[in-house]
């Protein structure tokens, strides 16, 4: 962890990958090589360009990647616009890791895993998926349902198709919102696709995406017989400090930056729906 609260370390952008029309993935290294710090899947980091802003992003890469960290960032405001203009060699500030992580070494261990993501919501789950791939013997079957608006909006399509889809024990189900030329896969929203696929209510489910998608997907899962204790998601609220002190990101008595961002659905149900 960056040693001082609020004080970042410097990172350097060593690769920029254009994933979709509005998502780029940045590879970040410490200035003298290696990673800025270690993390667990689901944790986040504060990235900043001094003078432009600072914001929280989930760490997309898996901790099993020993060389660098990756952040998939969607362009949606002042800081992210600036980040999208960055070239290789640009320095940024990084602090973290913040928050809890998906319980990859506890509750998820030995389980069949169902990942459900919408759009940029794949970013935090990609870290878990690649962690599970790197420790394959510790987990059961892996199924991934991933949807986006168009086929161009699927984040890092090459990795999905060339790696995930080729691996034994992993099933990938892709969908896009509307029919499109050059797409012969499934068409339709994620929650409906999940219902259509119909999953046995065992193992653990990790859901991440826009709030509305999370809501309907969870409903679908509960109808299938899944229990709230089997379902995890991550929350996103405005953040400044990342350490439960600036008072900005609470849901009830929980700070998303510190107690989250990963919540199990039964835990979330005990909190005010103020998110």
């Amino acid at each position: 962890m960056t040693k001082e609260t609020l004080v970042p370390v410097l990172g350097i952008v060593t690769d920029v990958r254009v994933d979709t029309p509005d998502v780029k993935t940045f590879r970040v290294n410490a200035v003298d090589g290696g990673k800025c710090f270690e993390h667990m899947p689901g944790q986040c980091a504060m990235l900043s360009i001094p003078g432009v802003g600072e914001a929280m992003f989930s760490i997309t890469s898996s901790p099993t990647n020993k060389e660098f960290m990756e952040f998939s960032i969607k362009k949606c405001g002042c800081l992210t616009n600036w980040l999208h203009q960055m070239d290789v060699g640009q320095m940024i500030t990084v602090r973290g890791p913040y928050g809890n992580a998906f319980p990859v070494e506890e509750d998820l261990k030995g389980q069949d895993l169902l990942f459900i993501a919408g759009g940029i919501g794949l970013a935090p789950l990609r870290s878990v998926i690649n962690y599970v791939r790197a420790n394959r013997e510790n987990y059961g079957k892996v199924r991934i349902v991933y949807g986006s608006r168009t086929k161009e909006d699927l984040v890092d399509y090459p990795e999905i198709v060339n790696e995930w889809c080729q691996e034994a024990g992993i099933e990938v189900f892709l969908t896009i919102d509307q029919a499109q030329e050059g797409w012969d896969g499934h068409v339709g929203f994620v929650p409906a696709y999940v219902t259509e696929l119909g999953f046995d209510p065992h193992g653990r489910v990790l859901v991440c995406g826009p709030p509305i998608m999370i809501k309907f997907t969870t409903q679908a899962l509960l109808e299938m017989g899944f229990d709230k204790t089997q379902i995890y998601t991550t929350m996103e609220l405005r953040m400044k400090c990342g350490v439960g002190k600036c008072g900005r990101c609470n849901i009830g008595d929980q700070y998303v930056c510190k107690d989250g961002p990963v919540f199990r659905f039964d835990q979330l149900g005990e909190l005010p729906a103020e998110y």
């Binding site: 962890m1 002190k245 009830g252 005010p272």
Partner: protein, 339 residues
């Protein structure tokens, strides 16, 4: 127990070798500021306009500086406080407020900017002689007659009684021209304060049900709407409050780089939780609820029952719309039907 004559007070303050922050007049306000000879000390003022929070967690402070050149960044941290100082004349409620701030800033991971200041300070507490009508500190376990400080002063007209309770306090008091005093005299003063306090209008509020176990019930109360209706979202209550600690982190261009600083913020402001796709507290009802739920329910739920209100009464005095936490406690309290 020791005592010194009333006319020794300013001499004692002036003789302290470190900077001393004390309640002094600043225009029409009483604020905690660096004391210098000639200033008007206002140890008599209950509910100072600004609070000792200003010293530990200033309204704005520099955190670090960046030099940007082409694609490179150079970072220089702001130095942490390293000079000893004294805060002189802090009331019991405001000391409790510092303990609330400690819970936040000294919790892991420690805020080193705050921690350094906290460590270098010695606090001289001041027992309350005359409470204000708006005081309700005892509801939160604060004893106005016995501040929890390094040194405590009791006013007794022609003299001040004083006692050191910590090593820091004993070191500070060492050079004061005090004489031995009768413990019983202070007990009498304490008893008098208790009597005056118990006669106050908000002396006994019912806090039953303000805890984590009743979180959803309190959150879902239909009363928030009516309670918050007059609120302008001006943030005065949060800025006057000795326990409010929400902050923002901002950058500005100094012409010679970027200065990153932090400054107080307020959960009462509409943009406090605003994100690119909207806010989770869209109206003043949610913001108002957040402020009081935090103080009365969320904070105690996470801090062994400690409330993040100390009953100082400042929000009662400062709100332009006459809103305050007492109204909330009365409206949402258990077995209380008046809203």
């Amino acid at each position: 127990m020791r005592k010194f004559a009333a006319d020794q007070l300013t001499k004692i303050i002036s003789s302290i070798s470190t900077p001393v922050y004390a309640p002094v007049e600043d225009g029409s306000m009483v604020v905690y500021d660096r004391y210098e000879d000639g200033m008007t000390l206002r140890l008599d003022k209950v509910g100072t306009d600004k609070t000792p929070k200003d010293i530990l967690f200033p309204q704005w402070e520099n955190l670090m500086h960046f030099r940007m050149e082409g694609k490179t960044i150079q970072l220089t941290e702001e130095e942490r406080a390293k000079e000893d100082y004294v805060i002189f004349g802090v009331r019991a409620c405001d000391i409790q407020a510092i303990k609330v701030l400690d819970r936040v800033f000294l919790a892991d991971p420690i805020d080193t900017y705050y921690a350094a200041r906290r460590e270098h300070g010695t606090i001289v507490g001041l027992a309350c002689g005359e409470p204000a009508k708006s005081c309700f500190c005892k509801n939160f376990g604060v004893d106005p007659a016995k501040p929890d400080a390094d040194v405590v002063l009791w006013p007794a007209g022609d003299c001040w009684y004083c006692e050191a309770y910590t090593d820091k306090g004993r070191a500070l008091m060492e050079s004061w021209p005090t004489e031995a005093a009768d413990e019983a005299a202070v007990e009498t003063i304490k008893a008098e304060i208790a009597v005056k306090y118990d006669a106050l209008p908000f002396a006994k509020l019912n806090l039953n049900g303000f805890d984590g176990d009743h979180l959803m019930e309190k959150f879902d109360s239909p009363k928030w709407k009516k309670l918050s209706m007059p609120c302008l979202g001006c943030g005065s209550c949060t800025f006057a409050c000795p326990t409010c600690q929400c902050y923002d982190i901002r950058d500005y261009d100094t012409g010679n780089g970027i200065q990153r600083y932090r400054c107080w913020d307020s959960c009462m402001y509409s943009d406090f939780t605003l994100m690119a796709h909207g806010t989770n507290r869209p109206t003043q009802v949610e913001r108002y609820r957040q402020r009081f739920m935090h103080k009365l329910v969320y904070f105690p739920s996470r801090n062994d029952g400690m409330y993040s209100c100390v009953g100082c009464g400042r929000c009662i005095e400062k709100c332009p719309m006459n809103l305050n936490i007492v109204k909330v406690i009365k409206a949402l309290g258990e077995g209380d039907s008046n809203d």
